[in-house]
C-alpha cells in the first residue's frame, strides 16, 4: 500500500532503531512527550516501545480530544438530544464515552436517535433528509477537525438550513501544551509534536516552546518510521544542547499551515474565555465556540444547556495520567474498576486514550514480565 508500506519497512526501521540506540547511549535519561493521541495509539499498535532503548521514556500527552472532554459536556449534549425530535450525531469516537447516565450508544439502545457520522457534512446531510427533526452535531477535536465543522456551518447558513446546529467542543492544542509545561510536577526534555493538528496550524505556533521553554519539538507523522525518525531528530538536538522546532512530517505539514482552513475557523468560531479540560481543569482561551454571526447554528444558543459539571471519581487519576505524571497502570482504578468495557475515565474509552491503548496492547505484556520476574 503506497504511503504506508514504505514507512513500515523493517530494514529501515531496524537501522533507525540502531541509530537511536547509538544517539541515546546509556548516560542519560530522555523524557519525551508525544502530544497527540494518534501518536500514543501508534506507539502501542506498532510496539515501538519494544524497540526503543530503556532510557527513552515516552510520556503520553493531552492530545486525545475525547479524553479531555469533561463528562458534564457529554451530559449537556445528551440533555439537548433528549428534547423532542432531536437527532444526536457524532463521530464514532464519541459513542462509547460515558456520561453520568451512560454513553451515547447506551442512550441509543434506550431509544434516543443517535447517529454515527463520518464527517460534519454527513450530519448536514441528515438534516436535509429529516426536515422535521433537528440534527445536533456533537463536534469534538482539535484544530484538525475544527475547519470541517466551520465549513459545514457556513454551508448550512448558505443553504438556509435551520434544523441543524453544532454543539461545539473544539479545543486548541497550544494552551494545553502550555498547561502541561506550567504544571509543577512535570519534567520533560522534548516534544513529539502533533502531526494532524499541524497540517492546519503549521509549525510556527510551537516556536515559543523552543525559544522560551528551551525544549526541542519535532512535528511527526504517524507511521513507525516517522516516529522513530522524530526521536532521532530530538536526540540530535538534545545531545547538541539545541532547542528548535523541526518538521519531520513535511510530506503533509506545511510550515505555515493551511491558510484556507485557518480562515474558516476564524470566520465561524471565537475563543471561549476559558474551558474545562478533563484532568487539567479550566484553561483560559483553550476552546472554540460558534460566534454570534452563526448563532443560529450554535446548539448552545438555540437550546437551553443545563451546564452540568461532574467531578471525576476521586479514585480516578485521569489528570495525573493525562499530564504524564503517572503511567496508566499506576492509576488505582486501571484494569480493575476501569476497563475498556466499563470505562470510568475517558482515557479508557478512545483507542487513542493512553489507558485504552495501554490496556489493549501492553498491560498483559507487563503482567507477563512481572510474573516471569516473580518466578525467576
Amino acid at each position: 500500500m503506497r504511503f504506508v508500506d514504505e514507512f513500515r519497512e523493517p530494514e529501515l526501521i531496524s537501522k533507525t532503531a540502531e541509530e537511536i540506540r547509538r544517539l541515546a547511549g546509556a548516560k542519560r535519561h530522555y523524557r519525551m512527550m508525544e502530544v497527540c493521541g494518534g501518536h500514543t495509539h501508534a506507539i502501542y499498535r506498532f510496539g515501538l516501545k519494544d524497540i526503543l532503548p530503556e532510557n527513552i521514556e515516552l510520556i503520553h500527552g493531552p492530545g486525545c480530544p475525547v479524553c479531555v472532554l469533561p463528562m458534564g459536556r457529554i451530559d449537556d449534549g445528551l440533555a439537548i438530544a433528549r428534547q423532542p425530535d432531536v437527532i444526536f450525531a457524532a463521530f464514532g469516537d464519541m459513542m462509547r464515552v460515558p456520561g453520568t447516565q451512560g454513553s451515547p450508544l447506551e442512550h441509543k439502545a434506550r431509544g434516543m436517535d443517535v447517529r454515527i457520522v463520518y464527517s460534519p457534512s454527513d450530519a448536514l446531510k441528515l438534516a436535509r433528509l429529516n426536515p422535521d427533526k433537528h440534527v445536533m452535531f456533537f463536534a469534538i477535536g482539535f484544530e484538525t477537525t475544527a475547519p470541517s465543522t466551520a465549513l459545514t456551518i457556513m454551508r448550512a447558513k448558505a443553504e438556509g438550513l435551520r434544523n441543524f446546529s453544532v454543539f461545539c467542543n473544539h479545543v486548541t492544542i497550544i494552551p494545553a501544551i502550555r498547561a502541561i509545561l506550567d504544571s509543577p510536577d512535570m519534567r520533560l526534555d522534548a516534544f513529539i509534536g502533533p502531526g494532524h493538528v499541524s497540517t492546519v496550524i503549521g509549525c510556527r505556533p510551537y516556536e515559543w516552546i523552543a525559544h522560551n521553554e528551551r525544549k526541542p519539538i519535532v512535528v511527526s507523522g504517524f507511521e513507525p518510521l516517522d516516529m522513530l525518525q522524530s526521536v532521532v531528530m530530538l536526540l540530535r538536538q538534545l545531545n547538541a544542547g539545541e532547542a528548535r522546532v523541526e518538521n519531520q512530517y513535511k510530506r503533509v505539514v506545511p510550515w505555515e499551515g493551511n491558510r484556507a482552513a485557518l480562515r474558516a475557523i476564524a470566520e465561524v468560531f471565537q475563543l471561549r474565555p476559558y474551558f474545562e479540560w478533563r484532568g487539567l481543569g479550566f484553561i483560559s482561551q483553550s476552546a472554540l465556540r460558534v460566534n454570534d454571526k452563526y448563532a443560529e447554528w450554535d446548539s448552545e444558543q438555540r437550546f437551553t444547556v443545563p451546564g452540568i459539571r461532574v467531578t471525576d471519581p476521586k479514585a480516578a487519576q485521569c489528570g495525573e495520567v493525562l499530564k504524564g505524571v503517572l503511567k496508566p497502570h499506576q492509576c488505582k482504578l486501571f484494569g480493575r474498576e476501569c476497563t475498556p468495557e466499563h470505562p470510568i475515565g475517558a482515557l479508557m474509552v478512545s483507542s487513542e486514550g493512553s489507558c485504552a491503548a495501554y490496556y489493549s496492547y501492553e498491560h498483559r505484556k507487563a503482567a507477563m514480565e512481572n510474573s516471569l520476574i516473580a518466578i525467576s
Binding site: 500500500m1 504506508v4 439502545a109 482539535f142 513507525p224 487513542e352 507477563m368
Partner: protein
C-alpha cells in the same frame, strides 16, 4: 457462529432427560442492566452474555469450552447441530446477500466443527411491507447456495411482524451435519509449537458491508468472501486430519476474537506474525482510514485452524491445492507465553497484544 454449542458430545439420556424442577433459580454472572448492540457484536460483550446468562441457565453451571456446533450422540448415531441468525443490512451487497450468508454461515459452523452439513431448517421473520421480489430473490439465493454447498433445505417456518418492528427480513438457519472421520476439534488438545493456519485474506466481508451501507463516502473494489468452507476443511482433514486440534470460522469479532477465545480456553499464547497475515490492500486501506484493525473485522468465508507442527506442511499444501485455498497461510504459532493472550509480532521486533473486540468496531475520526 453458533454462540453456545457444547463442544463435547452429550450422552443420549442427557439430551432426552426431562426438565427437572429446581427450587433455586440458577445464579447468573451477567450484570449488565440492559442489552446493548455490543452484546450482539461477537466480541467481549457477546461472550459475557453467553457465558454469564445463556450457558449457566441453558447448559448447566460449567459447560466447558463452547464451540461452533454441538456434537450429540443419539442412540449411537453421532450428529453435529448448530443454528445461526442473520440480520445483515443491506440485504444485498457485492459478493452476496442475506440468503447466501444464511446457508453458508451454518454450513461453515458445522464444517469447522469437523462435520459435513446434511440438512438445514430455515426460519424467516418478515416485516410487513417487504416487497415480494426482495423475498423471492433471497429464497432463490438460499436455494442456489444450498445446491452449491451440497446441503438440503428440509423444513422451514415464517413469521410476519408489523411494519417498523423489524428491518425488512431476518433469517435463521439451523443445521445438522455428519461428523467427518479422523478429526477431533478440542481446544484442550492445543500444544506449544502448533501452527496457526488461516484459509485466506481477512476482512473482506466486514469492510464490504461497511461500504455497502453507503454511509461512508468510500468506494472500493471489494466483495464479501461468503462461501462454504467445507471443501477446504475436507481437503485439510484428508491431508492432516490427525494433526488438526481446533478450527473456527472468524465471523463477527474477527480473527482476533476467535483466537482470544482459543487462547483463553487452552491457556496458551497465540503468537501471530503480522507480515504473514493475508489482508487485501483495499481492506488494509479502509482499515487505516477508519482506524480499524483487520483482525477485528468479520469474515464469512474463511477459517482458522491449529495444526500440530508435523502436519503443518501437509495441511498448507492441501489448502493451496484445493480450489479457493491458494491464499492460505501459516500466520503464527502457539507458545507458552503470553498465556491466554494473542500477540502480534512485526518483522522489526515490535509486538502488540490484540484483544477481543470490545463492542462494535467504530470508525475513529478525530
Amino acid at each position: 457462529m453458533s454462540d453456545y454449542a457444547e463442544a463435547e458430545p452429550s450422552s443420549a439420556n442427557r439430551v432426552n432427560s426431562p426438565v427437572v424442577a429446581v427450587e433455586e433459580p440458577t445464579p447468573i454472572r451477567f450484570r449488565d442492566a440492559q442489552i446493548e448492540m455490543a452484546h450482539g457484536a461477537g466480541g467481549k460483550a457477546s461472550r459475557k452474555l453467553v457465558e454469564g446468562l445463556f450457558a449457566p441457565i441453558l447448559l448447566g453451571a460449567s459447560p466447558g469450552p463452547l464451540g461452533d456446533a454441538a456434537l450429540l450422540d443419539i442412540n449411537g448415531a453421532r450428529i453435529a447441530i448448530t443454528a445461526d441468525s442473520f440480520v445483515v443490512k443491506p440485504l444485498r451487497f457485492p459478493g452476496g446477500s442475506i440468503g447466501e450468508l444464511a446457508v453458508n454461515g451454518t454450513v461453515n459452523d458445522l464444517a469447522v466443527s469437523g462435520a459435513r452439513a446434511e440438512a438445514l431448517v430455515v426460519t424467516y421473520v418478515l416485516e410487513a411491507g417487504l416487497p415480494t421480489p426482495v423475498l423471492e430473490a433471497e429464497v432463490r439465493a438460499m436455494a442456489k447456495a444450498a445446491r452449491d454447498a451440497g446441503v438440503r433445505i428440509a423444513a422451514g417456518d415464517t413469521k410476519v411482524v408489523e411494519h417498523g418492528k423489524a428491518d425488512q427480513m431476518y433469517v435463521t438457519t439451523a443445521g445438522i451435519g455428519r461428523p467427518l472421520h479422523g478429526v477431533k476439534i478440542d481446544p484442550g488438545s492445543v500444544r506449544v509449537g502448533d501452527r496457526i493456519l488461516l484459509s485466506g485474506p481477512i476482512g473482506d466481508h466486514g469492510i464490504t458491508i461497511l461500504l455497502a451501507r453507503g454511509e461512508l463516502d468510500l468506494e472500493a473494489d471489494l466483495r464479501s468472501d461468503t462461501r462454504s468452507v467445507f471443501p477446504l476443511v475436507e481437503a485439510l482433514v484428508r491431508a492432516a486430519g490427525p494433526g488438526i486440534r481446533w478450527m473456527r470460522d472468524p465471523t463477527r469479532g474477527g480473527a482476533a476474537t476467535s483466537l482470544n477465545e482459543l487462547a483463553r480456553d487452552c491457556g496458551l499464547g497465540m503468537v501471530l506474525f503480522e507480515d504473514q497475515i493475508p489482508v487485501r490492500d483495499t481492506v488494509r486501506g479502509a482499515c487505516e482510514l477508519l482506524g480499524l484493525d483487520p483482525l477485528h473485522i468479520a469474515n464469512e468465508g474463511q477459517f482458522l485452524a491449529v495444526v500440530s507442527p508435523e502436519y503443518a506442511d501437509a495441511a498448507i499444501n492441501a489448502l493451496w491445492l484445493a480450489p479457493g485455498g491458494g491464499e492460505a497461510q501459516v500466520i503464527g504459532e502457539v507458545r507458552q507465553q503470553p498465556a491466554g493472550t494473542v500477540l502480534v509480532t512485526t518483522l522489526y521486533g515490535g509486538s502488540r497484544i490484540v484483544d477481543m473486540l470490545v463492542g462494535d468496531p467504530l470508525p475513529r475520526i478525530c
